[in-house]
Symmetry: C2
Subunit: 554 residues, 2 copies
């Protein structure tokens, strides 16, 4: 097996730090400590890949090594297809992954193209080279749980528990996020390997032998107000209905129900009830059995959602965590599948209205000290933001770096460029050992249209309008981000989303400072603009506070 790790240190293989950053980050995405299945170039999220195949990967690296300061590499679904002359302030890489003309935007057509070697699933940060392992998702999930606690339990998770499933690339963050938010959690996962991985990396505290023991543990820790996370091996499509039965019979009731199995991908992401993991893996490899697998998985998702609906009907806060499971259930006949909301309208949108989202940065030096220094700098820059301080302290304490050291921190419009410029200054001054690369998830304020998730239930009904992420990508290209990507189908699968990525390098130069000042304002600003346009008053107020020019809002 081939092992890829990003180079470390201050020596470059490429002609500039802009190209070196892309060169390291694509490799970092495939680091065995970062990626889920690096042998198959799979980074996370089912089949989200960093490059179409190894030949394409090697050619991308080679092209980056030779790329000039006025050239731009085009990557089409993980394949390096062209190098064109642009200029120093233009992006060095432009990527488009998994995009299909709408009428053909389904998994059948995706698979047909994929089998022919013509395509790749980019997910969000897999194909756009800014995945940083579970930390990214820990922070998002933490923000979500904190906000849920604020809304439902007066900000206090003490003695309460969260029921969820899926301990994969992203879902594995749930137990730690619940703990950081102060809640007990019960986490159902059908693969022992995924549980083991989370125990090993301290994201999960313990594993129960069976459902009875799991509930005993939940009761035990709730009584003591200990924020302990508990794993349980099993199939959510079987265990959730069992828990509903017990609750109906007067048993324990969770205080929040959600789910992070990969229901968005019915071939690779959701184990049908009654199937062994071995049968499941075999069927994934055999196209002839895909139809049967897909049907069985959909039926199980429907049972899973029916159980979630039952909890919802009992008055328990229940949210879809962006894996499209309600749509799958709806398509399988569960008419009221959308009775419970997605996590975005429920808990995230108020943050998006202020341009807040999964801002992150990576130390290209490979030295953890560089990140600790940026942590300290953020605290200095935002001395009154107690939430950010609390997060940074917990993150340093509890989160192991995977691959290149990285940090995530939900900053908003008016904050991100201050952070970016400060980091650039630290690179310039030699405080940091090498440049820093700054990016974000596609799940961000201005960069995604995904009606079952990020843009569910927009105030004006513009959920499905994808002009916004396209404008975001064009604007970041115009502003001079280092690489910009446009993807389709991330998170919720083919047909259900369009979204854009942005990464920018702080190499300590004056030119980089100018680009950072533009791009980090515009990127968050375009999200505030999008929400102001949809009628959110907090976004309009944020736009005004930050001096955004919105021509129709005078």
């Amino acid at each position: 097996g081939r092992v890829v790790r990003a180079p470390r240190g201050a020596e470059r293989a490429c002609k500039s730090w802009l190209t070196e950053a892309a060169y390291r980050m694509i490799q970092n995405n495939l680091d065995p400590d970062v990626a889920e299945n690096p042998q198959h170039l799979v980074v996370y999220g089912g089949i989200g890949r960093a490059a179409r195949n190894w030949e394409c990967f090697d050619r991308i690296l080679e092209t980056l090594r030779n790329l000039e300061d006025d050239e731009t590499l085009l990557v089409q679904s993980g394949k390096p297809v062209g190098v064109f002359r642009t200029h120093a302030d233009a992006p060095r890489v432009l990527l488009a992954n998994s995009n299909l003309v709408p009428k053909w935007a389904n998994w059948e057509h995706f698979n047909e193209l994929d089998r022919k070697g013509l395509f790749m699933y980019g997910q969000m940060t897999a194909g756009s080279w800014i995945y940083i392992g579970s930390q990214g998702i820990v922070q998002g999930t933490f923000e979500t749980f904190v906000e849920a606690g604020r809304q439902h339990y007066n900000g206090d998770w003490g003695g309460r528990w969260i029921l969820t499933a899926g301990l994969g690339g992203m879902g594995g963050a749930q137990p730690l996020a619940a703990t950081l938010a102060g809640a007990v959690s019960l986490n159902i996962e059908c693969q022992q390997a995924s549980i083991d991985f989370r125990l090993r990396t301290r994201y999960l505290d313990k594993q129960a032998r069976d459902l009875d023991e799991a509930l005993d543990m939940v009761r035990h820790h709730c009584e003591r107000r200990e924020a302990v996370s508990i794993g349980l091996l099993g199939n959510a499509a079987e265990i959730l209905p069992a828990l509903v039965e017990r609750a109906k019979a007067g048993g324990m009731r969770p205080d929040l129900v959600t789910d992070q199995t990969s229901a968005h991908d019915l071939i690779n992401g959701y184990l049908p009830a009654g199937w062994s993991v071995e049968e499941w893996k075999a069927a994934q490899q055999d196209p002839a059995r895909h139809a049967a697998l897909r049907d069985a998985a959909a039926v199980s998702c429907a049972a899973h959602v029916r159980a979630m609906l039952d909890f919802h009907a009992m008055g328990i806060p229940t949210v879809d965590y962006g894996n499209n499971i309600r749509q799958v259930a709806y398509d399988t006949g569960v008419r009221n599948a959308f009775a419970f909301p997605g996590f975005v309208p429920a808990y995230i949108r108020p943050m998006f209205c202020e341009g807040k989202g999964p801002f992150r940065w990576v130390a290209l030096s490979g030295d953890p000290e560089d990140i600790y220094k940026t942590d300290a700098r953020i605290k200095e820059l935002f001395p009154h933001n107690r939430h950010v301080h609390r997060w940074l302290d917990m993150a340093r304490d509890r989160i192991a770096f995977q691959g290149l050291p990285a940090r995530i921190c939900w900053l908003g419009l008016g904050e991100r460029h201050i952070a970016g410029l400060a980091f650039n200054e630290m690179v310039k001054n030699g405080e940091l050992k090498a440049p820093v690369v700054i990016g974000r998830d596609h799940l961000d304020t201005g960069s995604v249209a995904s009606p079952n998730r990020e843009t569910e239930a927009m105030k004006d009904g513009s959920d499905a309008v994808s002009d916004w992420p396209l404008l975001n990508a064009l604007l970041n290209t115009a502003g001079g981000a280092t690489w910009v990507s446009l993807h389709h189908g991330g998170g919720v699968g083919m047909g259900y989303s369009q979204h854009a990525g942005m990464v920018i390098v702080a190499d300590g130069s004056e030119a980089a400072a100018k680009r950072l000042a533009r791009v980090l304002v515009n990127d968050a600003g375009s999200g505030v603009m999008r929400h102001a346009d949809a009628g959110y008053e907090s976004a309009a107020a944020c736009a005004q506070r930050n001096g955004l020019k919105l021509p129709m809002m005078k």
Copy 2:
């Protein structure tokens, strides 16, 4: 009624010629000599608009007047939504029109958003401000008919006739294109006003009273080898089946059959058989009758396509001219609707492989002499290209300018930037009275994914992959085009296409020369790249000849 015309002359209302160009071109799109229904901001193609409404239009003009050289205006489906700081080499305007997340990419959802005032149909060059009236389409249709004549009739249309329908914004170019190519043509159109307009502008030579007279005229002019165009008032869904009956009974047979009714838009574009034009217009205005109208139009399209299939079965060359009529018929039960090809794989793709497509330019001075000077310059630059010389001579002779004087001419990779740089030089030298704006249709080599039209039957089966137009838009933004647009649904309707526009100003400056040298190479180059990637040998050869860097093609 409000009358809009682009300002002329060398005085600017805006701060630079880059913004002035956008300022003039959006107004030119709504010039009563250019637009089909300027009162409703409709430029062409059914409901393709230049701005969402008059308030948005006014605010776009105001914003352009004030836009600085380092600012970029964002336009979302015809609404000016934001102004952000970029830099001098970035586009001054970025537009996204009619884009919808695939699962919601249908006319029902479009109409819902449109009714709420949240959306606009951009077609191709309507919402991206580079429509130049019928000349653009005359050239494209001329190229198509010439190529058909070459393939089927040894390059000689003498004594042969073309049967078609639709004399609207684009379809009205057919009679003139047929004449220029040397063929007799019979053109069916259901609205007398459309026929009158084409008679008045000399695109159509005469009108027949009825089908019998029309066929007599066709016979008469074919016998004399006179390339005369004949209009006939009526419904194609009734007249084509009648012509099939006559042909089967030994009557006259056309030598090419095609159609340019607006079948891609079943509410506004296709008159159902048996309906009067008045009933049709009334139903268009009444949402309650849309379902019935749509159904009736679809049934008529099916009858229309069945007649085309009958001609095809007789061995007569028959092509879909990009209006989605085969898909409509297929959806209405005509199983073999796709038995005849689209015009792109039949006649256009070989040109796309060389980066050739609808390159065009407009004299911002408003002076026709500026265009005649550029015509002469093109002839000097490409002295051996007899086809281009023939076209330029005929165009000057037969095509009346509409709005600002403009010229179109299908140039390819390696040619476009030579033309653009020459024009920039002419502006600099004062040979031209004002700057020139250079653009193209979205229907071009690298800028469109449209599986029923421009990318039908690609060699590798990548028809529906829309990574390519997205990369094209990102690349042109990176290179410094003056405005860049991303649209959905042009030509073939919601769900069926994604495409990108590009316009760049030659203002005579050194900076413009650098941008032109990049953008006009990259734009055509990305089309050659896309076709080379799909396995077209002529594209691979063209890439090599022009020194394109295609990393996987070594």
